[in-house]
Symmetry: C2
Subunit: 118 residues, 2 copies
DNA sequence: GATTGCTACTTTGTTATGTCAAGTAGCTTG
DNA sequence: CAAGCTACTTGACATAACAAAGTAGCAATC
């Protein structure tokens, strides 16, 4: 129902990770997030994230015309951003490990529970 | 560094999951969280969560004396809470799956990347 | 018997971040 | 020219974690 809180903090890292794969712009990132399963991210959610990442020097911006619409703002990751993302992955991994233990009580099995793998 | 945002929403589910395993009280829950790796959860963080869960009828409260301190408030999960937790697990699973895809680019491998196992 | 230290819960103010809603604007097509 | 897609902006709002401080019961030590 309300995934807002669950998404907090996670979104930032995900967006940064998308940009890490190569220079891209907001609208396209929105598509990437959707493809990965984050379907209800609105523009009003994403763009502030980009602004923030930019302000914090984790990504940098370049304006360029779009072949089919208004100007695009292309973002690429900075060295600082790469470093931050690395740290983020570690923090996320640690927390989700704890959550797995608490939510699925992984006492004997390790990776069994979270497999809803198609 | 600042795991506050990453924890948002997750904590609630974790606390509920601990209570699901059996009637318990705040101070003990704090210990369970710590054991699972969530080491820096303060009392000022946990207790409001319990209050909220109680107010939302996801858990219920019973006061009882402690053998070695002030009165304890024992919490147990309600039917509504069980249902909520089930839904939570599903939502969490879906989001963390998306995050895994985005953060670790699981295109061919499935569980390789997130294994920093011992 | 006062201090220290552990257990146990409360409260208040702060901050970060996602969300909604509305808006601006370029371009294409009917 | 109106509709519809692309593309970004802005402002008001809600939620939840956190730090810091406080209140209290009880036990052991000095």
């Amino acid at each position: 129902m309300d995934n807002a809180q669950l998404l907090k903090g996670i979104l930032e890292g995900c967006v940064l990770a998308v940009i890490e794969k190569g220079e891209t712009y907001g609208y396209e990132i929105l598509g990437e997030l959707e493809k990965a399963g984050l379907e209800d991210i609105g523009e009003g959610t994403l763009y502030p994230v980009l602004t923030r990442l930019d302000k914090n020097k984790l990504i940098q911006c370049r304006r360029a015309k779009s072949p089919l619409g208004p100007i695009r703002k292309y973002y690429s990751i900075t060295a600082e951003g790469t470093e931050y993302l690395e740290d983020f992955r570690e923090r996320y991994s640690r927390i989700s490990k704890s959550a797995d233990i608490l939510l699925y009580d992984n006492s004997s099995e390790t990776e069994e529970n979270k497999n809803a793998n198609s």
